[in-house]
Subunit: 765 residues, 2 copies
């Protein structure tokens, strides 16, 4: 009987099996108590267990969400739903030094439009680079709707490397999505405008306003978009929307849906019905199909026109060459999703209750047979909706975006108005399950659900409203991403995650083990250009030189001092700080801020960063490391002195605030010797264990060895001064020797604790 | 026997008590399975249960953490450790429109230094306003270390309202902390500089460089700092550090510690030992004690000198008047924490192993008796360390910051080098417990641990290094805040929380129910000034007017259109958009972005926001709502047309892309009537329930009623056009009528679901 209960009661069984140690009994008692106190149901505890990730644990998937109007990319772990990073993309962000150091300013400057800074982006759709249609974890692309641009993020260091400005569009939405081998990144227009960027009155909308779809050529080897090899296909002034690339049998094609094919022009201020009415009157809008592989060949063959210096295939050429077709779709759709096998795509109209499954086979047959239902006003052949469809399924009110499961034929569609996710089978056209979300879901995301190999397991519902889900924080609410378990037949809500900054529109999630980021740079690295910095400095080789009227400071950063510590210039001079972080230890980032000059840098281990400014005000400007990098981080400081124009450097001797004697020296040396004894005991512990089997400890030992070498250096200086009876400097260098010892001890203790907690064993010498 | 197991095995007992329904058995089985799959221990499950917060749940505490160099404030819930908001403070942030709308630009402009923008802040220490020493949840203050400034955040809407620039300091650290009734906010210097802001060579450091402590007068009624009533006390060029206000018996005093009282001036570039060595040579630094109440009286009595137009009490005056004293403290301290009863303060030296508990009673007696040990080089009386101490306790290597428990005499100290938190009793001088953290803790935070009434329960360890704790995301790591359960005798680690943006230095946590934020503004509200906006517009009263050469657009935002939809100006004109969000529904924020002109606004319900810019380029610039606010949010769009300089408005009639007939009209009206039937059934459901007992539903019903009134309006227009046989406009207005119906249905369905899920009951009419 006991055994039977033991078997049915999971948690109990576990305790029984483990022998009911008193701590386990305590845990049991406590769980019941905690559940009561916190009002948790068993289902809640199960959800907690499915998402909770203990210290040091890893998530199975990593999600990249657009940061909406924040202009950034949000990185979070699944299932823990903990946000790991906001990556600076279109908006300057000082913690990362993004838009503050000269190197990243160059990246942001690429995003200028007609010479003017744009200091935000309305990011919408991130895309992970693919190889043969599978996520490869190398690059991430994201678009800006407000000012048509695409950014390239390198996932080896999670930094933005490039921003390209769309040369013809003034509004976009349907990007970024990648072709199965990341040859191209697509960006489709949204609100139509004249492609030449001229002023054209709205009365000429139908004739002179246009949409387009741009294919950005990605150079994988360089990790950059090649603007010169990129091109666009002109489209009618239908508000183009989301896009996707074909794969497998549909590889070579791209698909872009649209709304407001009514070409309605608002004017509520003149008593006309607003855009929302005029743009949703027709029952259907159009899917745009483009044969991009053939389009690229046509561009190569010189069939494109140049608009603003950019290759554009006109509608006429596209129609003549047979690379552009339209297919009706339920009105005001949002979401264009090609199936993993490339045989179908699914579209839903937001004002409809149906999801429409289109058959590539049927579509290609219609095209092959030139079986067109009509032509649009611009001469583009229109395929018949019914002849193109595989099936239509009633999934709920306000269907929007569909993502694929690991089980063939199973998909999930977000239902905006009903605030639900519908699970259904698109092969058989059958609804399988529904779950309520909170509230008004926009896009949704399954794991690698955009790729040829969806991973199933989890779904995230990107809700547009949180309303009452979280502790109130004023009129501007966080967004709510809800994690849903899709491993069983029934969907189960696991977790509500507030998004504290930005409104993500779309997200992609990759298996965590596909990402292989580095944790330090080669020493003296310009991370934005991925090359050695011309401004790197080596320890002991720091210098201040005037070149072409600019005072260049080639400095270094290391726990816990900045070299140089004093920089004096004349008012009006341009100063250029170049700082190399000499650390090799993981997570030993140093910052650098200068008072009044709006200088704020972040230098991760190995990185060289620069800040150039005109020292146009005389005075005394403290600088310091902004990262709490060591016990003495507050002492990691310096002064920029700007003497008034026309004055000479004072050069007066420093008036010491404190002087030290032989007694001070002797006392400090004794402290150091005592400290060394502690260090030696820690070193003995570590080296007597199999520490080489633990990568983090190997790294720590490497770092500690560095510190001890620095200590030996300072010790020598100290002893040299003492030998010359200069006990003042002898004492100070002895103190510096001690500081290195403290750092070595800090690292050593961390290594020792790691070994103790991770089951290291004693080894024979 | 079974019963005995039942009693000991918490979870099992629960199931037994509940009768073992099959779903519960499933839950049990699942828990065991999940634990096995995810490698969770019982302790992990317990921690999960202690932190997991189910959908719609509330946290017990809300934490405000500095955002470090991000320049922002981070808000998160405890124990769920979910980040709820990043509040824009010193750094522009587009999601919030902060630094993008004219209103918030004015706030940031207050933070300019000598006319130049500073686009970041190095935020360190947030402080919640207090009443009688208890957190009152009304205001939050935070400092900027890099460019000495204090920001005021109003917690009624979580927005930054004011930034003040310190008139004499060029570096600070010891702020913001508040007096027990928030009369004053303290800000203490860090790196000494000439207070006049003149250039002075470092050779004159001892004579002409100074520190200071500034007391900012806070006007509670206005919710703003009154700069004219604020003052400073000059201090020696010791690097002042953290501060705290006295309370109870020590009310009227403030305490500020320091480092580098050696007054060492680095110069590693010239072969001198670096600051870190010279600044940590002496065994002790100084606590600065200031009688601020008396200081305020002295200032009022005209005893202050004006420096840069600001009242400063000189060291000489402060000494003469007996309001300034020094007490030695173990070197390089960090953390200055007055006990809840105001009888003690605790300080620890970062290079020491002790925490030092000072007795206010002893200190005041020494002052009363003029029992001074010495004077410093600036004539300030120094109290004897030993005579001032209550006790010193060995707490670990690298102690830093101490926070108070709800149990009298119990405190927690962060131990940087040992990577631990030590729990100890400061009355009895006894260590009670230690726990390892990951890694290198800086500050720590207990619940309301800064106030006269600490709440115990939880402690957060603000670690400086995360290293291997999280999924790698490149060389720049997130920070790691670890939640620790302090409700029992032993501390228990509950949760690792990555901080995705910024390096928080300090945090404060308040009981959630002390916060009473609003979720909407009065209509037409300038939230930064807390007054009606001069630029508000009412529905139907939108207008475009030229005033003093500026084209003012008085517009409105509502699901799902912007009024006006078309704005045409001449190249070179200044355009000023003023947009009022007419929504009354919680969380119905609208955004507004204009292509190319770097315009990006966020308008929460009721808010009026403005964007002013010179339309210096001719062309067509789409604008749109950046928030996914409704099913037709993509259609919430418009065009800014900038015609070339010297040209006239074209005024040509719009060429309709689509025209509608009587059939279209009839069809649309039928759809609308069908939709109305659905709405009626939802309304019938809601009104037959006790919906008035559910505040969120009452708000939804209010919103739905609004939408239905709009629908009625559009219906009338539609019918009027149809009556005149204008079926084109009749159809379009019928569509608009339908759009309002869709919104009403959306809201109604949400209300219905809420009632169903929250146990509403049928009521008799």
């Amino acid at each position: 009987m006991i055994q039977k209960f033991g078997k049915t009661l999971g948690f109990a069984a576990l305790a029984l099996g483990m022998g009911l140690a008193s701590s386990q009994v305590a845990a049991q008692d406590n769980l019941e108590k905690v559940m009561k106190e916190r009002g948790l149901t068993q289902k809640d505890v199960l959800a907690a267990a499915k998402t909770y990730t203990p210290t040091g644990g890893r998530d199975e998937f990593v999600a990249f969400a657009s940061g909406g109007q924040s202009g950034q990319v949000i990185v979070y772990g699944i299932p823990s739903m903990r946000i790991l990073k906001y990556i600076g993309v279109f908006t300057p962000e000082p913690w990362q030094g993004y838009g503050f150091d000269d190197e990243s300013k160059e990246v942001l400057a690429q995003g200028r439009i007609k010479g003017k800074d744009i200091t935000f982006g309305d990011t919408h759709h991130p895309a992970i680079s693919e190889t043969n249609g599978e996520y490869d974890g190398k690059f991430l692309f994201i678009n800006d709707k407000a000012n048509p641009r695409i950014a390239v993020i390198d996932l080896h260091d999670f930094e933005t490397k490039q921003i390209v400005v769309n040369p013809i569009l003034k509004s976009e939405h349907g990007g970024a999505f990648v072709s199965p081998n990341t040859d191209y990144v697509i960006e489709a227009a949204q609100y139509a405008t004249p492609l030449t960027h001229d002023y054209v009155p709205l009365s000429e909308f139908n004739d002179k306003y246009r949409g387009a779809v741009t294919y950005w050529k990605f150079d994988r080897k360089k990790g950059r978009i090649d603007e010169s090899k990129s091109f666009s296909v002109e489209l009618p002034p239908y508000s183009q929307d989301l896009s996707d690339f074909g794969k497998g049998p549909s590889d070579g094609w791209s698909f872009t849906n649209s709304f407001c094919t009514e070409r309605y022009i608002g004017g509520i201020e003149n008593g006309r019905p607003p855009f929302e009415a005029g743009c949703s009157q027709k029952d259907t809008d159009f899917v745009h199909m483009v044969n991009w592989k053939k389009a690229a060949e046509l561009v190569a063959a010189g069939k494109a026109d140049k608009i603003n210096g950019h290759d554009v295939l006109s509608i006429d050429t596209a129609v003549k060459e047979g690379i552009l077709f339209l297919i009706p779709e339920p009105k005001s759709p949002h979401g264009m999703d090609v199936s993993p096998d490339g045989k179908f795509f699914i579209v839903s109209g937001k004002l409809d209750t149906h999801a429409s499954v289109y058959s590539m086979e049927k579509i290609f047959k219609l095209i092959e047979n030139k079986d067109f239902a009509a032509k649009d006003p611009y001469g583009i052949p229109i395929l018949d909706l019914q002849k193109s469809l595989h099936t239509q399924v009633s999934v709920g009110l306000g269907p929007l975006h569909t993502q694929y499961d690991s089980t063939p034929c199973v998909v999930y569609t977000s239902i905006y108005v009903d605030s639900q996710v519908t699970k259904w089978n698109y092969c058989e056209g059958k609804v399988l399950d529904k779950i309520s979300i909170h509230y008004n879901i926009g896009h949704l995301m399954t794991m690698e659900g955009d790729s040829v190999k969806p991973q199933g397991k989890y779904l995230v519902s990107l809700n547009k409203l949180a309303i009452d889900r979280f502790q109130p924080v004023g009129p501007l609410h966080p967004q709510n991403h809800q994690l849903i378990d899709i491993s069983g037949d029934k969907m189960e809500l696991l977790y509500d995650m507030p998004l504290p900054l930005g409104e993500p529109h779309y997200a992609v999630a990759i298996k965590a083990d596909r990402l292989k980021p580095v944790n330090r740079y080669k020493v003296g690295w310009n991370s934005r250009k991925d090359e050695k910095s011309a401004y790197r400095a080596r320890p002991g080789r720091e210098k201040i030189v005037e070149e072409n009227g600019v005072v260049h400071v080639y400095g270094t950063l290391i726990r816990s001092h900045i070299t140089p510590e004093i920089v004096e210039v004349e008012e009006g001079q341009t100063v250029s700080f170049h700082l190399t972080n000499l650390e090799r230890a993981e997570d030993e980032t140093h910052g650098f801020a200068v008072n009044e000059y709006n200088v704020n840098l972040s230098a991760e281990p190995g990185k060289t960063v620069s800040a150039t400014f005109v020292a146009d005000r005389a005075g005394v400007f403290p600088y310091y490391c902004t990262e709490f990098c060591s016990a003495l981080h507050l002492e990691m400081q310096g002064y920029l002195l700007v003497r008034p124009k026309g004055t000479k450097a004072s050069g007066g001797a420093v008036d010491e605030g404190q002087t030290y004697t032989q007694d001070d020296y002797t006392k400090q040396v004794k402290t150091n010797n005592d400290t060394q004894a502690v260090i030696d005991s820690v070193v003995a512990f570590i080296t007597s264990r199999n520490f080489k089997d633990f990568a983090p400890v190997v790294a720590l030992v490497e770092d500690a060895t560095d510190q001890l070498n620095f200590a030996a250096d300072a010790k020598k200086k100290s002893e040299d001064y003492a030998a010359k009876k200069d006990f003042h400097n002898g004492t100070l260098w002895a103190q510096q020797w001690f500081q290195y010892q403290v750092k070595a001890a800090d690292i050593g203790l961390r290594a020792k604790t790691y070994l103790e907690q991770n089951g290291a064993v004693e080894v024979k010498k």
